[in-house]
């Protein structure tokens, strides 16, 4: 391989941060996606409009702009809220928190559409049958809808996660020391930009491949009871 001038462990630290932000964004995004899909399928109009506005905004704005807005744009609001709660002084999100929030919001918007499609793919007869068995709405959701919907949603969510991992690089712009930022720091010391950006590219490629393999296995596992599956 090529000479990393002793910055290899720094890059690994950066990789750890990248994975942490990706995991945080994934969890937040899945929660937002489920909430969003439920709201979009709800009969309550205000909930529908709220979710529709959220997905339209997030899918129309560049992720970089979302990261910048969450980091630079929320400090005024947060300081004011903290003021009401009796805390004086300036409050802002750390790059870490801002990154997770921004990526989670973006992931959630796309996941909303994935979940909505998956929930709609469940035959109405099953919901009626569950209701006839006396299940409440929450129990129907947990026992009937969710176990089947996530199987349909899995390929879509896997692709979104690939995008999420790549988008973590954007958080380097607000100074979070993830893989990209660590590479920049190494470059400032060694003056070898190609070496380190290429190393970073290879690490991202490796993550992509691992996620792809994981996605494939998860899909096979999820489909194990389906007709036509070989496992």
């Amino acid at each position: 391989m090529f000479d990393l001038h002793g910055f290899g462990d720094q890059l690994l630290l950066g990789l750890g941060m990248t994975l942490k932000v990706a995991a945080g964004g994934l969890v937040l995004g899945l929660v937002l996606g489920l909430l969003g899909a439920t709201a979009k399928l709800s009969r309550a109009k205000p909930l529908y409009w709220l979710a529709a506005t959220y997905t339209t905004l997030m899918r129309g704005l560049p992720e970089l702009l979302v990261v910048l807005i969450i980091y630079f744009g929320t400090a005024g609001l947060l300081t004011r809220i903290a003021g009401w709660l009796g805390h004086d002084g300036y409050v802002e999100l750390s790059p870490y928190a801002a990154g997770i929030v921004a990526l989670g919001l973006a992931f959630g918007a796309y996941a909303t559409e994935v979940f909505r499609g998956a929930i709609q793919a469940i035959p109405a007869g099953q919901i009626e049958a569950a209701r006839a068995c006396g299940m409440g709405r929450l129990r129907i959701f947990l026992r009937i809808t969710l176990p089947q919907a996530w199987r349909v949603a899995l390929p879509g969510l896997g692709n979104l996660f690939q995008v999420l991992v790549k988008d973590t690089s954007l958080i380097s712009v607000i100074g979070l020391e993830e893989l990209m930022r660590k590479s920049q720091i190494a470059i400032a010391n060694t003056k070898e930009p190609f070496t380190f950006y290429f190393a970073a590219a290879l690490v991202y490629l490796a993550i992509t491949v691992i996620v792809m393999l994981g996605q494939h296995r998860a899909e096979r596992w999820a489909a194990r009871g389906q007709p036509g599956s070989t496992t």
Binding site: P62, L65, G73, E192, P193, L205
Partner: protein, 232 residues
């Protein structure tokens, strides 16, 4: 929250100027990337494994790494090599504008290649066989049957790719270009009013996305009208 409406209005001309650069970069990259993707997609469906592997390596790299890395690798990275600095391409490679344009082209070209490959493979076999039976082969078959059919199949997915490219173009601001996002960041550095300026910039992006989505809907309706149920 009290917004500084005056500042928002004053920032508009400069942000619109940034919008022009955004549109220019996106349009040129899409045209060049589109041209690049046609031969590459044709190679991707070739029966020769070596010919198939070349475009696969290209699309794998550009779809598997973040655009930001690609941009930095090109704009900052290539300068590490003396060969590049002394070559005749150096005046182009060191320009942020050309770097962004080239990287955007290669990036969207990779995604478009895969979209087009899927579409070519989705062209019904019967149509290709019928064309063969009529005596068409090679170039004629592609020009008359496969490509006109494939681009219609690819259209919805390509519409999404255009939106993604528009959003990704915001990264041009990270290599000093004053596109819409870059201009917004510059104005914020002078006015210290991030919320106001980001609101205006965000509204412009949303307007562009809205126009693109609806424009594409019209285009799809037009070129796919043979699939629609007949009225009257």
């Amino acid at each position: 929250m009290n917004l500084e409406w005056g500042v928002m209005l004053e920032s508009l001309p400069r942000l619109l100027q940034g919008t022009l650069l955004t549109l220019e970069l996106v349009a040129l990259a899409l045209v060049a990337g589109g041209l690049l993707s046609v031969p590459l997609a044709m190679l991707r469906v070739s029966s020769n494994p070596v010919l198939r592997a070349l475009p696969l390596a290209y699309t794998f790299f550009f779809r598997g790494t973040p655009l930001l890395v690609q941009l930095f690798l090109f704009y900052y990275g290539l300068a590490q090599f003396e060969v590049v600095r002394e070559s005749i391409f150096w005046p182009i490679v060191r320009e942020a504008y050309w770097s962004a344009l080239i990287v955007f082209t290669l990036n969207t070209g990779a995604y478009t290649t895969e979209i087009l490959r899927g579409a070519i493979q989705a062209v019904p076999h019967g149509e290709v066989e019928a064309a063969r039976a009529m005596g068409m082969s090679g170039g004629t078959l592609y020009r008359r049957i496969v490509l006109p059919r494939a681009y219609r199949i690819a259209l919805p997915a390509y519409g999404n790719e255009i939106i993604l490219m528009l959003k990704a173009s915001a990264l041009a601001s990270t290599i000093t270009l004053l596109d819409l996002t870059g201009m917004a960041r510059t104005v914020i550095a002078k006015t210290y009013l991030p919320v106001e300026i980001f609101l205006v910039a965000g509204a412009i992006y949303l307007a562009l996305t809205f126009l693109l989505v609806n424009g594409f809907r019209l285009l799809e309706r037009r070129v796919l009208r043979f699939q629609q149920p007949r009225t009257a």
